[in-house]
């Protein structure tokens, strides 16, 4: 019987190695897998590359991970100068790769979809293209982008079943389904557990094939 539920945070975090690239779901305060981030902090992996939309709000688990010096590199679409990430960056204590938000999502989708590179007009006429390969396609300057895969994805779901089929609540969907398909090891925290089949076949958002472990942490 396929059963992707794990029953402890230790089991959920098992095997996350130092130096891993970790994709972190969420946008704003919504859809962030905070219990798993706290689990990662306790688990101890360091020298991490994290991929997350933004640098983490004051008081967030991401900020705590940064403050503990566990992150070497952050791939994100923006950093506020006044945030911890902004200060670490200015002090040279954090590498940051700034990626347009849509390109960031698309690079992860490419990783999950076996697309080994793609061209996009996004950013092609900007200083983000400095020194990079561009190509004119249909009269538009386009930038060559490569996939952004994760060793691990930490995501938040609303409902999950034992196959790892997931749904999301409202705008908590955001990056979570994209990251689920882009990582070798996808770990979901879910607010709700349902029996197999309760999520109807037409309404599964992330098929369980993209999910390796599910931890139930009630709301």
């Amino acid at each position: 019987m396929i059963d992707k539920f794990v029953h402890s945070m230790t089991d959920a975090m098992a095997g996350i190695a130092d130096g891993s690239t970790v994709l972190l779901g969420g946008f704003g305060d919504v859809g962030i897998p905070t219990p798993l981030l706290n689990g990662l902090i306790d688990q101890g992996a360091r020298d991490l590359t994290i991929v997350v939309v933004a640098g983490g709000r004051d008081g967030s688990a991401i900020e705590r991970l940064l403050s503990l010096g566990r992150v070497r590199r952050m791939v994100c679409s923006f950093v506020r100068p006044a945030s911890l990430a902004g200060r670490l960056l200015q002090r040279g204590e954090l590498e940051v790769e700034i990626v347009p938000q849509g390109t960031m999502a698309e690079r992860m989708r490419a990783a999950g979809a076996g697309i080994t590179g793609f061209y996009t007009p996004t950013g092609a006429d900007t200083l983000l293209a400095d020194g990079r390969e561009t190509r004119e396609i249909g009269g538009r300057l386009c930038l060559l982008e490569y996939p952004l895969p994760g060793d691990v994805a930490l995501i938040e779901a609303w409902c999950a079943d034992r196959w790892g089929n997931l749904t999301y609540r409202d705008s908590a969907r955001n990056f979570n389904p994209v990251m689920a398909m882009a990582a070798n090891l996808t770990i979901a925290v879910t607010r709700n557990v349902v029996a197999l089949g309760e999520i109807t076949p037409e309404t599964v958002v992330t098929p369980g094939i993209f999910v390796n472990r599910v931890l139930h942490v009630p709301a």
């Binding site: 946008f27 704003g28 305060d29 919504v30 859809g31 679409s77 923006f78 950093v79 506020r80 100068p81 902004g86 960056l89 200015q90 940051v96 700034i98 990626v99 347009p100 938000q101 849509g102 390109t103 999502a105 698309e106 992860m108 989708r109 996009t120 007009p121 996004t122 950013g123 092609a124 006429d125 900007t126 200083l127 983000l128 999301y168 609540r169 409202d170 705008s171 908590a172 969907r173 955001n174 990056f175 979570n176 389904p177 994209v178 958002v205």
Partner: protein, 220 residues
């Protein structure tokens, strides 16, 4: 500049002015800042579908304090409601919408717009160590139309409507129209064409606040 027989629009005034020009049926993304407030001035019975790049299609008005759904925010991370008929997509699909030409309109704030349609809205200098790109570059190149809402000049009176942008670009040749606190200006192959000015403002006075040359169609 001794002319003062006019009152520049405030933020709400600019948002209201832009809202007037959005017809029913358009799919529209509103950027952070003043653009977000445009939705407040589109009457609910004029069906405009607002897209938020965090995957919300059909963003509705702000909720009353007792009706906040903490799972439902817009791209400014403000709590919103969802219109009947709205839906959710993930981030890759949401930016497929933005980049793929499915937005009839995107409205962004900006530091500067050039007469060739270039927009600069994400960094004040190439050397800035801390960068804030967000989704603006994807939206700017992808929407069918890009409008900008911004103050006509900086606080120090420096023009924001430029011959060429002085700040790092967000995208080239994309802005179609600018709503400022003083005027509504189209960006055309011939440059900036003034469509509308606030009462009491003269074209000469507007030109003194604008680096690039302004044109006005002859009245018919």
């Amino acid at each position: 500049m001794a002319d003062s027989a006019f009152s520049p629009l405030d933020r709400n005034g600019m948002a209201e002015r832009a809202a007037r020009d959005i017809p029913e049926g358009w799919m529209v993304n509103l950027g952070i800042g003043i653009p977000t407030h445009i939705a407040d001035f589109v009457p609910i019975d004029r069906e405009v579908i607002f897209h938020a790049e965090n995957g919300v299609i059909g963003v509705g008005p702000a909720p009353s304090p007792d009706q906040v759904n903490r799972f439902l925010i817009n791209a400014s991370t403000t709590h919103v409601t969802l219109r009947t008929g709205g839906s959710f997509v993930h981030h890759a699909d949401s930016f497929a919408i933005a980049r793929g030409g499915h937005l009839d309109l995107c409205v962004l704030g900006a530091f500067e717009v050039a007469e060739n349609g270039d927009i600069a809205n994400w960094a004040r200098s190439a050397d800035e160590p801390v960068k804030q790109v967000g989704g603006a570059m994807d939206l700017a190149i992808g929407a069918k139309r890009l409008w900008v809402v911004m103050e006509h000049t900086t606080k120090d009176g420096e023009p924001r409507l430029r011959r060429r942008c002085t700040y790092p670009l967000t995208a080239k040749s994309v802005v179609k129209r600018i709503y400022t606190n003083l005027a509504v200006i189209d960006v055309t192959p011939c440059g900036f064409v003034v469509l509308d000015m606030i009462p009491g403002l003269t074209l000469e006075a507007l030109q003194t606040r604008t680096e690039a040359k302004l044109f006005m169609e002859a009245p018919r």
